[in-house]
């Protein structure tokens, strides 16, 4: 298996909401405000209000995320993107991430496995490929890069 760069997403995030599902365990809800994506043969924007990221955070601040939202390509195709992932980092790094402070992107493990539902046509390769992603949290949003397994 090898990795082939597929696309980069840049998204800005709305306010974070929290649901305390058990003592110390929080389901976060961060809605996507805006975003763009681009890669070889594909580019477009994230559809406003089409979803968000819903991480389950453990007492030590690490956890798993589950996101779902829509992409719209520049030629008008809608693509549903769902993703699950893992974040693991030392406590001080987690504290800064949750406070939306500047953090060295090399200091935490944030990997995700996005999957897509695209219409038949030029983007249907998304429907039969698996992907590996890396995320970078910035104070004003997130950047994700996805690589296709080839």
């Amino acid at each position: 298996m090898k990795l082939e760069f597929a696309l980069e997403l840049r998204i800005s995030l709305g306010p974070r909401m929290h649901i305390e599902v058990a003592e110390g365990y929080t389901r976060g809800a961060v809605l996507i405000e805006d975003g763009t994506f681009s890669g070889p043969g594909i580019s477009g924007k994230v559809v406003r209000s089409s979803g968000g990221d819903f991480p389950l955070v453990r007492p030590d601040g690490n956890g798993r995320f589950e996101s779902q939202y829509l992409l719209e390509t520049d030629d008008g195709a809608f693509i549903l993107k769902r993703s699950t992932g893992v974040r693991h980092a030392p406590p001080e790094v987690v504290r800064k991430l949750l406070a939306r402070e500047e953090v060295d992107p090399q200091s935490y493990y944030m990997r995700m496995t996005p999957r897509f539902e695209a219409p038949a046509g030029p983007y249907d390769w998304l429907n039969r490929s698996i992907f590996v992603g890396v995320g970078q949290r910035n104070p004003d949003g997130s950047v994700f890069r996805y690589w296709k397994i080839v």
Binding site: P105, T113, V143, V150
Partner: protein, 142 residues
């Protein structure tokens, strides 16, 4: 927005899982446009990174789509030699034409936090199996 400075990921081979599958359970052609089948896991082995385990349960749920791609959702229960059990779960595709011929999926683990396999839950993995092969090669996303 800041430049992308996060690491470029890589894949590091971690485990080989040999699956013994039971007889398929066929649900049939669904109104949602594909054929549903279930393959129970009867047994098997899980070896790598100092772990020598066996498959103690699980199964693969298949959905053969109209476009010829089979979506696979898998759950595997693995017990190591000391009796600790982990749950691996994930999804992917089985394709028989195009860029790749075989099964590829992504996997995450759940493990007892106080046990020796807890570290498996802190990483994400991908897996690949050639058609008709019994071995699933599992790589850690680094």
């Amino acid at each position: 927005m800041a430049e992308f400075e996060a690491p470029t990921p890589g894949l590091a081979h971690a485990f080989d899982m040999v699956l013994e599958r039971g007889n398929p359970v066929n649900v049939g052609q669904l109104a949602s446009g594909g054929r549903r089948t279930y393959l129970p896991v009867k047994g098997g082995s899980f070896i790598g990174e100092g772990t020598n385990g066996k498959l103690v349960g699980g199964g693969e749920t298949l959905f053969e789509r109209a476009d010829g791609v089979t979506v696979i959702e898998a759950v595997y229960y693995i017990e190591n030699a000391a009796g600790w059990t982990v749950r691996a779960f994930g999804s992917g595709y089985r394709t028989i034409a195009g860029d790749f011929n075989g099964t590829r999926m992504t996997l995450l683990f759940e493990a007892d936090e106080s046990g020796p396999l807890a570290h498996l839950a802190t990483n994400a993995f991908v897996a690949e199996q050639a058609p008709h092969a019994s071995t699933l090669a599992i790589s850690r996303i680094i």
